[in-house]
């Protein structure tokens, strides 16, 4: 009796949709390495449907399998359908997960939802008149780039290359790094 079902192992050994999307329409990041898991989801949206979904995951076998499963489940779905994906559904699709790994399936759904939310906020921002800059801390949009976020008060740093804000405590610009990697 292996800890994981065959389906989990298959998704772990042959994960679908690994990678990032340099010009993603939405990016969702959850977890952090201190807790042992971290997931980044990237989405491309077309006609309200997920045209492409990619992920990068640091985490256990379940975390990787869940990421893969979620990406597969979400692919091609409308945003509303994708938002309705729950961790129970993910676990069920995988043929079950050990009790103590249920939070991994939670993370997968969360990261996907975060990516969709990110997309929707950007859309909203665009509708609000092409706001140039978004605070990496509170997700508020600005037309002009302030020194300090007018919404949450965070001090903003910007990448010399692309001008995007760099999250607090990080050395490199995530936007450029994504591109360089792609």
């Amino acid at each position: 009796m292996p800890v994981y079902t065959d389906k989990v192992l298959d998704h772990f050994m042959n994960p679908r949709n690994v990678g990032s999307i340099p010009d993603a329409d939405g990016i969702g990041k959850v977890g952090n390495p201190t807790c042992g898991d971290m997931m980044d989801f990237y989405i491309k949206v077309k006609d309200n449907r997920l045209e492409d979904v990619k992920f990068k995951t640091f985490g256990c076998g379940a975390a990787i399998a869940v990421s893969s499963m979620v990406s597969e489940m979400a692919m091609g779905k409308t945003l509303e359908e994708a938002k309705a994906i729950t961790r129970e559904q993910v676990a069920q699709e995988l043929g079950g997960l050990p009790d103590n790994k249920m939070h991994c399936s939670n993370l997968g759904a969360e990261a996907l939802h975060a990516a969709i939310e990110d997309y929707e906020q950007k859309q909203a921002a665009a509708q609000q008149g092409g706001l140039a800059c978004q605070c990496p801390f509170c997700n508020e949009f600005f037309k002009d780039v302030p020194e300090v976020c007018t919404s949450c008060g965070a001090k903003l740093r910007f990448c010399d290359e692309c001008g995007q804000p760099i999250p607090h405590g990080q050395e490199a610009c995530p936007t450029c790094a994504e591109k360089a990697q792609a």
Partner: protein, 391 residues
Amino acid sequence: MREVYLDHAATTPLDPRVWEAMVPFFREQFGNPQSLHRYGDGPREAVEHARAQVAELIGAQDKEIFFTASGSEANNFALKGIAFANENVGKHLVISAIEHHSVLNSARTLEKLGYEITVIPVDAHGLVDPAAVAEAVRDDTVLVSIIHGSNEIGTIQPIAEIARRVKERKRRIYVHTDAVMTAGTIPVNVDELGVDLLSLAGSAFYGPKGSGALYIRRGTRIMPYIDGGVQEKGRRGGTENVPAIVGLGLAAELARGEMGQRVAHLTALRDRLIQGLTAVDRVTLTGHPTQRLPGLVSVVVEYVEGEALLLLLNASGIAASSGSTCTSRALKASHVLTAIGVETALAQGSLVFSLGVGNTPEDVDQVLGVFPKIVERLRAMSPLYHKVEVA
């Protein structure tokens, strides 16, 4: 696929010679050693013979060996048995920050019951400073319990020096060592170590599961932990698990006889494996570089997570283990890695390969053949890795 077992710290295979010795006690010799009739005779003799074999392994007297069902039980027995029996002396115990859970959680239980515990930190190599232990000892201290060899980072503690310093500070204080990883693996002598109590387990040195022992120096005031009948001179109740005890005894005798060869064999494989693994970028050894268990290789692999490593190694036929959060049911990173100052994020990438007498250079080569690819594959998937690469 060629299978390579490199998880001897979790459990060792049973030595076929030990197995053969156990078989009769599952069949004709099924009697209870406490029985006065003939069915008790063979089992009783076998249990006492095993007691002598275990005593000899660690330089003890037969009467100082008390059989248990596991290393964990021996550790519980030592800590709580001493604590309960010496309440009138004091309610303070000293342990290290890198004890096995059976010691650590026994100490925590005692804490809940009103005892006070001092936890001695370790240095980056996982070493306890004997002076720090001696300093922690107080008038009301009843026990100092320090692990001998760590199953997670391999570091071997200077128990003899610790015991000496402690007894210098306060004469009538008991010193216990959890020798589950060392007894039967490297030379262990209770008098040279200067300990009053010592735990060992058969499954750590090719003996059976369900076998263990606590050494209790003559004259030590201790309460039984498993209350019951007259077994083990009233110090540990429950029908004796005769086959397991017989197996433990023979495993001890074989270990004593073959220890030199075994250590040489393991050390050679260990060092070859350490060298190969740490040649990979951002893979570092944990624990002490030389004062370490002969068969234990522990590393931290940056940017990837231990369980994922284990699963891919398993898919390549290699069995190992990890102290990452994801492999612990409690979903907390190993307290041992935290204690030696490994960042929690890095601790996620911990890997432990523990070698056994059956391993070969080919086994090591098989690991080294797949390891870099596995690490690379997971790093490619990791949201942490490329960021740092770029930076």
